[in-house]
Amino acid sequence: MSKILKNQIFIPIAALLLLAVFNLIMDPSFFKITLGYNSAGDPVLSGYLMTILDYGSELAILAIGMTLVTAASGGQDISVGAAIAISGSVVLRVLCGRDHHAETMQAPIIVAFLISCVVAMIFGAFNGTLVAFFKIQPMVATLILFTAGRSIAAWINNNELPIVNEVRFSYFGGFIPGIPIPTPFFIAAACVIVIFLVLKFTNLGLYTQTVGINENASRLNGLNPEFIKFLAFVILGLCVAVAALIKVSRLSTINYSVIAKDIEMDAILAVALGGNALSGGKFNMTASILGAYVIQFLTTTLYKFNVPADALPAYKAVVVILLVVFSAPVVRDFISAQWKRLTKKGVTENA
């Protein structure tokens, strides 16, 4: 038992179970999934669980990058939402060209996506440079883009609201005809597979953790800690571009001031919920990704119970408090001591 308690993945799983049990008691129909047809006549699965899969996926993608940034730099990137605005704006700019309401796309989607990847990685590199080479606190460094990002996004499209009238573009944030599971889930799955392959076939994990835990030691063992941190931010940039594609695809347009608003907080929360230390060092990618879906589970649950959107942060704050309390070593020791006492008592009573 104490071994399970100590395991990092215990936290998000426990939170997930807690939420599931809560919903099961309050209203079991929460778990109902129905097969229907959307307005284009294609089969789609719907239900709360599908909603969680759908919206949790973009968060999971961001959590991948955020986990690496947190591990390597011991800080968080708070410019993720603004970077999504920029990256999404770039996609639309390329697709729509000069005419913001073009009937046909001016460039293939893949080209638009690749260009937005490059742009997002450049902005990631900007953050990474400030953090790694200029040694600025990550939150302070990314505050710059956090502040300026949405204006840059608006500037890219000359403050117009471009709209993509191509149905294929809506597949990324919706459904591919014939496949009843939301596309974002497949995109997230692809990202997860890629990151796990990267972690398995390169030393990204070992290097990032080493740099995050002991920068001096990493340098003396031949690593280049600045580059590793820089790399983490660039990878987060890539994750941002993918999430941005899903975001703009959902509505085929963009609202610069509100798109992906506060999503950085959810991404950071996902990392924390995964039991990863926000001060950096050791990380567990699976736990972070699971954490992302738990956050969405919470959000969807709150929507179900008609909690106003502007009150959501307050509930999330409660989760943060619980998290912080339960991940504190003192509390954990106390719990495992109590558990031990209970089990000991059980044994003697049985005997």
Binding site: N203, Y207, N214, N216, A217, L220, G222, N224, A337
Partner: protein, 507 residues
Amino acid sequence: MKENAILEMKAIDKVFPGVLALQGVDFTLCAGEIHALMGENGAGKSTLIKVLTGVYSKDGGQIYLKGYDKPVIIRSPQEAQKMGISTVYQEITLCPNLSVAENMYIGRGEGVRVNWKKINEKADAILKSLDIPAKATQQLSSCSIAVQQMVAIARAVDMDCKVLILDEPTSSLDEQEVAKLFKLMRDLKERGVGIIFVTHFLDQVYEVCDKITVLRDGRLVGEYEIKDLPRVQLVSKMLGKELDDLSDISGEHKKFQAEPNTPPVFEAVGLQSDAGIKPFDFYIQKGEVNGFTGLLGSGRSECVRAIFGADRVLGGTVKKDGNAIKIAKPIDAMRNGIGYLPEDRKVDGIVGELSVRENIILALQVLKGFFKPFSRAEAARFADEYIKLLDIKTASADTPIKSLSGGNQQKVILARWLLTHPEYLILDEPTRGIDVGTKVDIQKLVLKLASEGMSITFISSETDEMLRTCSRMVVMRDRAVVGELTDDDLTQGKIMSTIAGGEKKDE
């Protein structure tokens, strides 16, 4: 409780995941005695003290204190202080930017209104009575480390402490300061304070202590009167094996003697770094063990760091087998077959949260490259091999290195570099803060590796350790190389005089 005892710990157990840190340990302290707590690293000394001071909660056993009729439960260091148990650690835990008096009285529930005049007078009185050379109003950081430690002791005394724990208090003090500290300890002993003294220095134990309790592998070996336990026996009890003499190893291995005019493997000319050392020349031959010696801060570490590229190199050239090579970063040095075990294990060496296995393979893995990670099986094989070879005591290869004892952590770092099979291995203070047994192991290993053809630089604060291993010593003073000693010149006296600079060289 026994008569005259002020503290009795009975059958104390403490379990960490995978390790029984303490198993049924008894410990008794009487009023007015200085009691040494001895044992290798990992024997359980620190754990026992942390249980006593409430840092850890015990998993079994009782603690009796004089004045309490029932066993006491100590939940925190604050509670321990209230019960009269105070600790002075190796690292000063006071606030350097506050005054001496402030440090003595801070956080002791004096309330919001503080009469500083009165407190300063009170502090001065105590400092005077204990013969501590400090003024109440002086800023703490302006005192020497030794005086700071004494202030910490004065704070404890003023808090009416009955049990004073001194955890490695002498490791950063010079001889005179140690003498002063011992005088203070004897004064306190006269006042009836019981002192628990934890140290690695055998001489000091025999100089000041009355009793010795020896722990090994989390168990009690025994409690002895100092006069009944000669030094050699103490060591053998700590190690758990008979050991003829600590110094026998220099006889076992023949030291390397370089053939005249053998070309050096590595050679540095006019090397200079941004760490503030004067340009220096250096060479090392195949299979040779040499050393850097000098007082703390004389630039020993900075020299080897410059060779390894750990500090920014400002000038000079390094040659390998006669060919110039460029070492700007540690990775350059590693690619040229150099390994470096840093002086400060905690800050520069271990990657705390990572497992022993990951810590062992780290350097070799970096050399191998980003896209070529070792498979789990390969890594496990390397780790197991070196855990066995160096006798690293760990629950498993998956255990985080930070939960190992200091000596075992050091062995892991050593394993990390041995795994890279370096041609030239730099060991900066590999034996600092580790127990006698491991020290001897490491010295033996150094000589063995050298006999197999590895070139080694060995740096240690303990001169006799270097005398036992090195065939050539570079002497440093004030950040410059001031001499080189070989053969017959390798004696304590000669080294001392070269360091001191009193005696000019013959030439």
